[in-house]
Amino acid sequence: MYNFDFVKPSTVDEAVAALADEDAQALGGGQTLIPTLKQRLAMPSKLVSLKGIEGLDKIFVDRGGNLVIGAAATHAQVAATTDYPALASLAARIGDPAVRNRGTIGGSLANNDPSACYPAGALGSGATIVTNGRSIEADDFFEGLFETALEEGEIITEVRFPIPEKACYMKFIQPASRFPLTAVFVAKFADGVRVAVTGASNDGVFRWSDAEAALNTTFDAGSISELSVDADDMISDIHGSSEYRAHLVKVMTARAVKAAL
């Protein structure tokens, strides 16, 4: 890997200042970034660790009833929470135990890997991604493969999850990477159902609006039995064809609805 400068600021403001340098990059848990650097696929001039910022890993329920998760909270920390079981369950199944002890929600969302778990959790929950400068609705945050609404140097500080009546994350893994081959997050709120799909689409995480509409009518797995997802939009690779992924979207959605708690 190429060498780089390293700073570990203790406030968000310092971090933002450090990220103003050209080719500076934020370092969360590093569980995706470090392997990328090892392959010499990235060449940041400076890494700005977000692990030294006091309170950036806090987790609490705010007065509005949202589960608020600091950007530096690890997957293990989120997995240990009880306020939003489906989200804790999602976090508990990311990577492996050692990865969960380092990897952070902020890092995962900012990276927006098309096969990552958290984007489905955030989009499926209608979460709000809060940065050093603004709040971004999940619906506006994810902009395709590895692309987000974040500006250069903008860092996520926390994510606010409205807690649904019931929800479930159903994941079908790609057998090598253990990332989702296709995974679906279903959340039923008083004002409607959200269905977010990761791992499947060429455009990254997406909401399956037809399923949402059907489930708004009746929240039952049978409601989606006549629906289908357009295979043309799905990823096709050695682990599964686009048709297979389109099929899995439906199967995983139905199973998530059945298992939602």
């Binding site: 010499r40 057998p175 090598a176 081959l181 690779d237 050695i238 599964g240 297979y244 099929h247 199967v251």
Partner: protein
């Protein structure tokens, strides 16, 4: 009652203590004073012409000490194929030269064309990026059929073809086999792929070359399963270093599975570079590099046909196989699809007529060679799959069709139509045993329970045999081997009665340090703790062909027994001298030498001491000291066999296959350490499940590997495999080695893949889904595709 030491005891492994405390000494753990680091420039295209390599910028990079290219090796020899295979037309196989660094062309992604030596590993890698190589991409040759047909685009221009050989076994059988098919009442045929695998020993390869200019001595520390073979290849073929000037040391090695048998170019490069810069040179492979450099395994495309009568009695077997050699011939590449595959195509069955055709093909892919089982898994898979299909077609029970065709215990020694002589076996016994330990009687109830959950449950059977204990020299010589396949041992008794055993086997997980000590302890009647096992260093051990082909105990262990017997013979003479008796009257039992009919007795320790304090030896008749060597060359292969039963649950909605039960009943002959043997079977079965369901090296049409890391190459994890039920109580001891052992290292990987795939087919059929075959790896998407196609 189980023994607590010696032969038959589950002695705890002594090597574990260092491994469990971080004190193992693997090659990467070794730092040689003043060492430098090598990094390799590797081709990013599958096939290309090297127009030029400008090394000036790289040489000017910080810390760079030397840059080597193929030109540095133009004058030295090539890395040879160890077996000469003769084609059906009598022509010898095609053998293009394999240089340590590519000359003229690069032939697969990862093919090394230059090496940079620098003060640090990072500097070496930085400088590799500064190399300016003009490599003109050529069309890649990937598909084997196209490679054979297309003589315009060649992996190796100088041989005029992409076909290495076209081998028939046995050519004289062909007419009778064809005739049997002509008149057969029933023929089952099946086309299948034996998927290309990456061995993935968890320790990546590492080599440290160290040239001493003051003596002219070279030392190579390297991750090898057979340091003497590596020394021979480097010394006699590649670099022309006299063997007395080259020491090869393979210390603790973190798994091999075949991939560390072979000599690789990196070993020659670190030696040559060390001489060039007069400092040690270390190279540590990373996993991504391993995927494109470690020899792959399997990669056969086969059509198999089975002729039977209406009752399912086998009449003839005929196969046509394309075997991928990759871009170069790795050391054992040519024998794996031939004599380790074609000769096994009779299986444990009394099929009267068998004919095998294998075409070995060059492609622009990583070289393919022996991987755990090596040829025998391919043979077993083809045979056990076609038998499964045949039984379904004829409506015969899976166990029954095997039973009616088994060679019977009273038929041994049994000469198969493909030229092996099985010495002993009892195939019904292991099949009965697996039915018992796998509770096949309870399968129907378990299937009902699965169906109640919406899953399809299947049971797959496989009955396998292999020829292993790889030796004997006379036989392998007839079959084209360019080396002998015997083994050697020295037993050195110290004056205090402890002893060291120098063995030509190499332990990279098998537990030799424990198991061999058990053998010697049993023979000498002394404690295992008094015995040290020394391996892996050509300067310390007499000779050895190393460990692969389930040969360590059967061949190397037998050499140890022979050397131990010589020790007893010599010690008996010394004891006779000590007790003033005739050697013929001295009996050795339980560690004591006794004069028959008297109370005179000397312990083994007393005799050892006397051997080194020979104050009154009759030196004309009795030499001082107590050290003996033996070279052991057996009369035949060994033939372990067994029966496996696999149960799977298939999720018909997703195609996901879950292995929910696996039972293995094996006949390994006598067993030295049951705990170690069970562990070998567990590991083999785990790898077999990996092949069957998960693993596959995939290239795109341009020869680019799509499975270059654990992100895409699916390694079995703890959650992908079940607890295994294993048994080796059916024992028909080998008739021709002194331990009566047959070998257990490869068994699991040979017998399990067809059991798994047969189980998947059974599950699908049970759900009324008419799928007769799914190629490995039987991934969820492949199963789902097959289900859709059957609708």
């Amino acid at each position: 009652m189980p023994k607590d030491s010696g032969i038959g005891a589950s002695s705890k492994r002594r090597e574990d203590v260092r491994f469990l405390t971080g004190k193992g000494k693997y090659t990467a753990d070794i730092s040689v004073k003043d060492q430098t680091f090598a990094a390799f420039a590797r081709s990013s295209v599958a096939h290309g012409r090297i127009n030029s390599i400008d090394i000036a910028a790289a040489e000017a990079m910080p810390g760079v000490l030397a840059v080597l290219t193929g030109e540095d090796f133009a004058e030295v020899g090539g890395n040879p194929a160890g077996w000469l295979i003769t084609s059906r037309d009598g022509e010898p196989m095609k053998e293009p030269k394999r240089s340590p660094l590519a000359i003229g062309k690069v032939r697969h992604v990862g093919d090394a064309y230059a090496a940079v030596i620098a003060e640090t590993a990072a500097q070496a890698r930085d400088a590799v990026e500064a190399l300016d190589a003009d490599i003109e991409e050529l069309d890649a040759i990937v598909d084997m059929s196209e490679a054979i047909e297309n003589s315009d685009n060649l992996v190796h221009d100088e041989i005029g073809t992409n076909l290495c050989y076209d081998w028939g076994w046995i050519e004289d059988n062909k007419a009778a086999v064809d005739a049997a098919f002509e008149s057969a009442p029933h023929v089952t045929s099946l086309e299948l792929v034996n998927n290309r695998l990456s061995p993935n020993a968890m320790e990546p390869r590492v080599s440290i070359g160290d040239y001493d200019a003051s003596t002219g001595d070279y030392t190579l520390h390297t991750t090898s399963q057979n340091p003497h073979v590596t020394r021979l290849l480097i010394g006699a073929f590649v670099m022309g270093i006299p063997e007395n000037k080259l020491t090869v040391i393979a210390p603790d090695v973190g798994g091999g599975f075949g991939s560390k048998i072979y000599h690789y170019g990196e070993e020659a490069v670190v030696l040559a570079a060390s001489k060039k810069i007069n400092r040690p040179v270390k190279w540590v492979c990373d996993r991504s590099e391993a995927f494109v450099t470690d020899a792959h395994g399997r990669d056969h495309v086969t059509k198999i046909e089975l002729a039977t009568d209406k009752e399912g009695n086998f009449l003839a077997v005929r196969t046509e196989t394309q075997a991928n050699m990759g871009a170069y011939l790795s050391n054992f590449a040519t024998v794996t699809p031939t004599f380790l595959h074609g000769t096994l195509m009779a299986g444990p069955y009394k099929t009267p007529h068998v004919y095998v055709n294998v075409k070995a093909v060059f492609t622009n892919t990583v070289p393919v060679d022996a991987y755990r089982g090596a040829g025998r898994p391919e043979a077993t898979y083809s045979l056990e799959r076609v038998i499964d299909k045949c039984a379904r077609e004829l409506g015969i029970d899976q166990l029954e069709i095997r039973r009616k065709n088994f060679i019977q215990p009273d038929q041994f020694p049994y000469t198969t139509p493909v030229a092996l002589v099985y010495d002993t076996g009892d195939y019904d016994a292991t099949l009965d045993k697996v039915a018992e330990i796998g509770d096949l009687a309870g399968f129907a109830a378990r299937r009902e329970a699965s169906e109640a959950k919406g899953k399809l449950r299947g049971l797959g059977i496989s009955t396998w045999i292999e020829a292993c204990g790889i030796a004997p020299s006379a036989l392998v010589g007839q079959l084209g081997a360019r080396v002998g396949l015997f083994d050697a041992a020295t037993v050195r008794v110290n004056a205090t009665g402890s002893l060291a055993v120098m063995t030509g086997a190499h332990s990279h997980g098998q537990g030799h340090e424990t198991v061999f000590a058990q053998v010697v302890a049993e023979k000498l009647g002394i404690a295992e703790e008094q015995i040290e096992i020394v391996h892996g260093d050509t300067s310390k051990i007499p000779f050895g062909m190393g460990s692969y082909g389930s040969r360590s105990l059967a061949v190397c262990g037998s050499a140890i027994v022979r050397a131990t017997e010589k020790i007893i013979a010599k010690a008996t003479k010394i004891a006779a001298h000590m007790m003033e008796a005739d050697a013929a009257d001295v009996v050795f039992e339980n560690g004591n030498f006794t004069v028959a009919g008297t109370d005179k007795s000397k312990s083994f320790g007393d005799v050892a001491l006397c051997a080194y304090v020979p104050h009154n030896f009759p030196h004309e008749e009795l030499e001082p000291g107590l050290e003996e060597s033996a070279f052991y060359d057996p009369a035949n292969f060994t033939y372990p066999a067994g029966a496996y039963a696999c149960e799977v649950e298939v999720d018909p909605d997703t195609g996901e296959v879950d292995v929910v039960g696996f039972a293995a009943a094996d006949d390994f002959g006598n067993v030295i350490n049951p705990m170690v043997v069970n562990g070998q079977v567990h590991g083999g079965v785990g790898q077999g499940i990996g092949q069957a369901l998960m693993e596959c090296v995939v290239h795109d049409g341009n020869g680019q590997p799509l499975t270059g890391s654990y992100m895409d190459y699916a390694m079995p994890r703890a959650n992908d495999v079940p607890s295994y039920v294993v048994d080796h109580s059916c024992q028909t001891p080998c008739t021709h080695n002194p331990l009566g052992v047959k070998g257990c290292g490869e068994a699991g990987a040979i017998g399990s893949p067809p059991a798994v795939v047969n189980a998947v087919i059974d599950a699908l059929q049970s759900g009324g889904i008419n799928v007769t075959h799914v190629d490995m790896p039987v991934s969820p998407s492949r199963v789902w595709n097959a289900i859709q196609a059957a609708k």
